[in-house]
Assembly symmetry: C2
Homo-oligomer: 146 residues x 2
Amino acid sequence: MKITYKGDYALKTILDLAAHFGNGPVAINDLSRRLDIPTKFLEQILLDLKRAHFVESRRGKIGGYCLSRPPAQITLGEVTRFINGPVEPIACVDKKYSGCHDIGKCVFRDVWAEVNRSTARIIDNVTFEDLLKKSKKINKAFTYQI
Amino acid sequence: MKITYKGDYALKTILDLAAHFGNGPVAINDLSRRLDIPTKFLEQILLDLKRAHFVESRRGKIGGYCLSRPPAQITLGEVTRFINGPVEPIACVDKKYSGCHDIGKCVFRDVWAEVNRSTARIIDNVTFEDLLKKSKKINKAFTYQI
DNA sequence: GTATACTCTACTAATATAATAGAGATTATA
DNA sequence: TATAATCTCTATTATATTAGTAGAGTATAC
Ligand code: FES
Ligand code: FES
């Protein structure tokens, strides 16, 4: 698994929308400014996320984006896979891969499959509600420090 | 972690050299043919592996490559990291990453760090002796089937 | 001295990544 | 209804990475 800028941006965006869940749409410009993501790049990412039904949009004056589902029903794994593709380190874990003559005799495949499982176990069990709670806790701690 | 063709080839090459450990050098051409790796590409990979002291070489008529250390002392993790870089899914786990304003408040970083640890736990505990044993067992099983 | 095999540097084609550009469509509201 | 705000869509671009290829050079056994 490799998280690209696009993937990183998508996750931060979903988290921000999670924080505003239930409070009406959030404009791309607000997200872009708050998260420090190039506006035009974020536009594309949000369109992708919309096509995958992670978010919904509204056009016009009070337009913007909001989550399609409550934060508790969106996992880190889902979003990551959607933007950055499969979690496994090499394609042969899932499907055929021309790299190996005889996939049945390959001793590496099992190891990669184990990496796949162990990664999936982590990222598929973190919801955006979990992340939101954690985020609130951290920000509270910072407030107390000041 | 993402295993490229180069990484995949390197691992297969080390495994083949492990199988011939103690029996003198193996020529690039033999490796190339047996493992179905483009010869000139393999040349480069072997030079890389030599510079990292995974393998040693011998030139001339009975030249070729052999492992610098016994298979039990080379892990899958070492070779993978050398060819395909760090295991973590995003650079910020290790060092600074411009993606996040405030790395101290980032809620994703811990998750990526956990993915890093869990992956490392797997690949750093597999040696090429382990892989070799497994390979021999599989080939035996195939022989019995026939 | 020559065949065999490793060594080294440079080049290339294809793909992915991280944007940027600009015209178009929708909607609240004055 | 005009218009400002906002999302929508298609292209284009610069850079980096990947997966090779090419070819001249060096060492060694016989
Ligand atoms: S089948 Fe995937 S590395 Fe061998
Ligand atoms: S610090 Fe790495 S994703 Fe936030």
